[in-house]
Symmetry: C2
Subunit: 225 residues, 2 copies
C-alpha cells in the first residue's frame, strides 16, 4: 500500500541546506498499525507530510497503492488526500472562527456528502472523541486537548483508508489518550484502517504492531510486537 524508496528531503534556506530526510526506505502494508518514534527534529513530521501527500520528496520514490506519486502536482495530490487519507496535524490546524462541528464537517463537504448526513456523521464522530457537548465551541473556546480531539474527529469522519496521526495524544491526559487509542484500535480492527502514528510516548506506541525509530532523517531500527 505505502512504499518509500530512498526518499530524501532537503530544505534550502539561502546558502544553508537542511537535510530533513536522508534516505528513507519503508513499506507499510494495508491494514498495518505502525508507530514512528524519534528525537525532536529527526524528520518524523516531514516523513508524515510526504506519506500524506502534503509534500513531495527531493529524491527517491513514493508509491501509494501501486501509483508513483513522487512528482504529482498540487491538484492531483489534493485529490488523493481527500479520498484516501485522514491527517491529524501536530499543531491541529483548525479553522480560526469555526465551530467544532463545522470543522469536522469540512472533509464531508469536499466529498459531496449531503447536508443532513454530514451533520449526523460529524456529531457522531465528535461524540466518539467525547466532545458532543462542545459542538458549537470555536477553537479559542476549547482546551488544548479538546482542539486535538476535534482534529482527530475531522481526520476520521470520511472513513479514510489511511490515518496519519502526528502526536495525536500530545495534549491529552493518560485516560483520554487511552480512549483515543481504543477508538483507533477499534477502527483498525473493524475497518482495516491503516494507521501510521508519530508519538514520543512508549505507552502510546505500545498500541501499534510495529515501531519505526527515526534518527537524523534515517530509520535507525524497527521493533515488531
Amino acid at each position: 500500500m505505502i512504499t518509500l524508496e530512498e526518499v530524501t528531503k532537503v530544505y534550502v534556506m539561502g546558502d544553508v541546506e537542511v537535510h530533513a530526510l536522508r534516505g528513507i526506505s519503508l513499506h507499510v502494508e494495508a491494514g498495518e498499525f505502525v508507530a514512528v518514534m524519534g528525537p525532536s527534529g529527526s524528520g518524523k513530521s516531514t516523513l508524515m507530510n510526504i506519506i500524506g501527500c502534503l509534500d513531495t520528496p527531493t529524491s527517491g520514490r513514493y508509491i501509494l497503492d501501486g501509483h508513483d506519486v513522487s512528482h504529482l502536482d498540487e491538484d492531483a495530490l489534493a485529490r488523493i488526500r481527500n479520498k484516501r487519507i485522514g491527517f491529524v496535524f501536530q499543531t491541529f490546524n483548525l479553522l480560526p472562527r469555526t465551530p467544532a462541528v463545522e470543522q469536522v464537517e469540512l472533509p464531508l463537504i469536499y466529498a459531496g456528502v449531503p447536508r443532513g448526513e454530514r451533520r449526523r456523521r460529524a456529531m457522531d464522530m465528535l461524540a466518539r472523541v467525547g466532545l458532543a457537548d462542545r459542538a458549537r465551541h470555536h477553537p479559542t473556546e476549547l482546551s488544548g486537548g479538546q482542539q486535538q480531539r476535534v482534529a482527530i474527529a475531522r481526520a476520521l469522519v470520511t472513513h479514510p483508508a489511511i490515518l496519519l496521526a502526528d502526536e495525536p495524544t500530545g495534549n491529552l491526559d493518560t485516560q483520554t489518550g487511552e480512549e483515543i487509542m481504543r477508538l483507533f484500535r477499534s477502527l483498525h480492527e473493524e475497518r482495516g484502517l491503516t494507521i501510521i502514528m508519530v508519538t514520543h510516548e512508549p505507552d502510546i506506541a505500545a498500541w501499534a504492531e510495529r515501531i519505526v525509530h527515526i534518527r537524523d532523517g534515517r530509520i535507525e531500527r524497527e521493533e515488531r510486537r
Copy 2:
C-alpha cells in the same frame, strides 16, 4: 507569593454557562516547583491563565506578592506579566513570520534591554534549549518540538521570578524532554525560580516537589514528594 482564594471562572456562551473553575484555593510559596495534572478540559490552562495575569477570575481573589490582582485592568496586568512571569503556552503562540532568535528577543525589547545584550542573551537561551543552529528559522521551518523549545526559551530569557509552563514537553521525545526538565531544575536551584507546570506525563511531574490534581474545575487532591 501566589495565593488563590475560592477562584471561579465561568464562560458565558449565549444561554450556556461553562464552569471552567469551580472554586480553586491554592497557595504556592516563592521558590516552589509544582506540577498540575488532570483530565483534558478540567481547567488547567484556565487556572494557568489566571495565575499568569492573562485573565481574571469570575469570583474569588488572586493575591500575587501581597497584592490583590483579581480586578486589575489590562495594562496593569501586562506590566506585572512582563516583569515577573514567563509563560510557555500549550500552543506556543509564536509570531508567524519571525526568526527564532527574534521571538526570544521580544520580551527583552519590552524590558528595554540594549540591542547587543538582547542578541547575546537570546542566542544563549536558544543554545540552552538545543537550538543554536535554528536561530534564523521561522516557525514554519521548525519542527513541533523545536517551536515548543523556542517558546520555552522566550519564557525564560528575562529571568522571570515565576515560570508558568503549560505542557512544555507535549511535543518532545523523552530525551529532549529530560534536557528541558534539567534546565528547569537548574534554574530552580540556581535562581530560586518558582515553577508551575501543567503536564499529563507522570515522568515529567516527578521532577516537581508537589503535584496538584485537578478534576472538573476543582482541586481533587495533592501529592508531596
